[in-house]
Symmetry: C2
Subunit: 158 residues, 2 copies
């Protein structure tokens, strides 16, 4: 009995520990063939410029697409949303796509990311597959502004 209790306590501590440390979000392999949700250019002077200035495209895996289409909007476990941030190149009466600034990722996993609204966050600078050291709590704090739509701001453009 004491042993079972000790084992359960140890397991409890283990899971609590995992919950506390959270997990990491993997590089979203193959996201360029996922569904393109929408695009936007954030210019100098915009409140988000320092954070995500540039031209971004949002891509969603199949599970995330279920979430975008659901009403009310709840994303299933395993949903991954990619914010592909590029340098806009302006000139000759056109804006074209320049270098990649970052690949920013949200992944839904209520076990690993319970502390940040069931979503994990990661940022891969440029074309790197190695995540930068970011404060995921600041991601979470800002995304709370979209708590009514499961912490996702973007809306799918049909």
């Amino acid at each position: 009995m004491v042993r079972v209790f000790a084992l359960l306590s140890a397991l409890g501590l283990l899971f609590w520990g995992l919950g506390q440390t959270g997990g990491t979000v993997a590089y979203p392999q193959g996201y360029r063939t996922w569904t393109h949700v929408k695009s936007m250019i954030v210019e100098k002077g915009h409140p988000l410029y320092e954070l995500v200035g540039g031209l971004h495209h949002i891509y969603a895996n199949e599970k995330a697409m279920q979430g975008y289409r659901a009403n009310p909007r709840v994303f299933p476990e395993g949903s991954v949303i990619v914010f592909d941030l590029l340098e806009p190149v302006v000139g000759n009466h056109a804006v074209v796509e320049g270098e990649r600034k970052a690949v920013i990722v949200m992944e839904k996993d209520s076990r690993r990311f319970a502390r940040t609204g069931n979503w994990g966050y990661a940022l891969f600078p440029g074309n790197s597959r190695t995540p930068a050291n970011i404060d995921v709590n600041s991601c979470y704090e800002c995304h709370k502004g979209a708590a009514n739509t499961d912490f996702v701001f973007s809306v799918y453009r049909p």
Copy 2:
């Protein structure tokens, strides 16, 4: 013998007729979940502004993706490429996606579209599924500028 000859002649005339009139390009059902190739904004003052001014995204079906990845670049039969043209909405230090101006389509079929470089062209205004009456020869004349890349100007952004 005379009958067989007459029949063959009639068939020949029929196919010649089909070749001459070409075919029509269908609305690209489901293209929004195809692969996003690249994007661009064509602004006032650009030589293509009158024709395709606005924010466009290019989407490719799986066969067309084979073409984009091939070297030299030849697109297989059945390739479909969509030019999704939206009104860019500029303001508040951002550019967002407005109304759809048109869905423009290229479809490769060397039988139906032999007269225009093996590609057929169609334009669906706004969100309409009914094609506009366009001069496909002018599409072809312009796309001859990309004859070296099988009449496709766009390059896939990895």
